[in-house]
Amino acid sequence: MKTDWIDITAEPLDAGEVHNFLYRSEGGGVCVFAGTTRRITGNKSTEYLSYESHISMALKEMQALSNKAREQWPLLRTVLLHRIGDVKVGQPSVLIGVASAHRSPAFDAARFLIDELKKSVQIWKQEHYSNQTTEWVQTEWPDEPAEGT
């Protein structure tokens, strides 16, 4: 039985399925984070975000993050799902979830996973604004060197 559900998909993300995957008889605390496309950032109005990924690397990196989380906290299951393609305002592009026996590690591990995913997983997003312009979101590498560099 697989205890990590890791995927990059062009399909809508189903939070109900994620919860069902995380509800375990050994567990007591489930924390799920969803990142959704926000209409307003700064003074610009977004219609949708378009994501692309180096999928094979991204899946390996997501698995590595799950492994790191499991080293730090006693987790029963983890979920890391990310969409590629277009994600409209108000829809989730990313779902992170963990199940643990207690709530404290569930919150801490979910927070760790989304923070780290944003730093290291090989996914890029492009803003599609209401005025028909587009823009690739510019970021910087975090200060700590990534693995292998």
């Binding site: 994501y51 692309e52 180096h54 094979s56 990310h82 592009s93 944003k118 690739w136 560099t149």
Partner: protein
């Protein structure tokens, strides 16, 4: 030798393709490839100090010598989530 280059987001648009095959001199290093691409694209040149090379899904040091058949991805700072 022939290698495959993968570009994403800004670089994909700059080079007009996500995947291209190119011929390189045997013994070319990662850094030499970066300089070659920077000379051909202002967009790449602007990002060359932050781009990381991954060969066959693993990050490599710029001093690494590339090999025939390598699948080389240009990874710019990520923006998922």
């Amino acid at each position: 030798m022939i290698v495959t280059l993968r570009f994403f987001s800004v670089l994909r648009e700059a080079f007009g393709a996500g995947i291209v095959e190119v011929e390189l001199e045997p013994g070319t290093t990662g850094q030499e490839l970066i300089e070659l691409l920077a000379a051909n694209s202002d967009e790449f040149d602007a990002l060359k100090t932050v781009v990381k090379l991954a060969v066959n899904d693993e990050y490599v040091d710029p001093t690494a010598v590339l090999a025939d058949g390598d699948d080389i991805a240009m990874i710019t700072p990520v923006s998922g989530g």
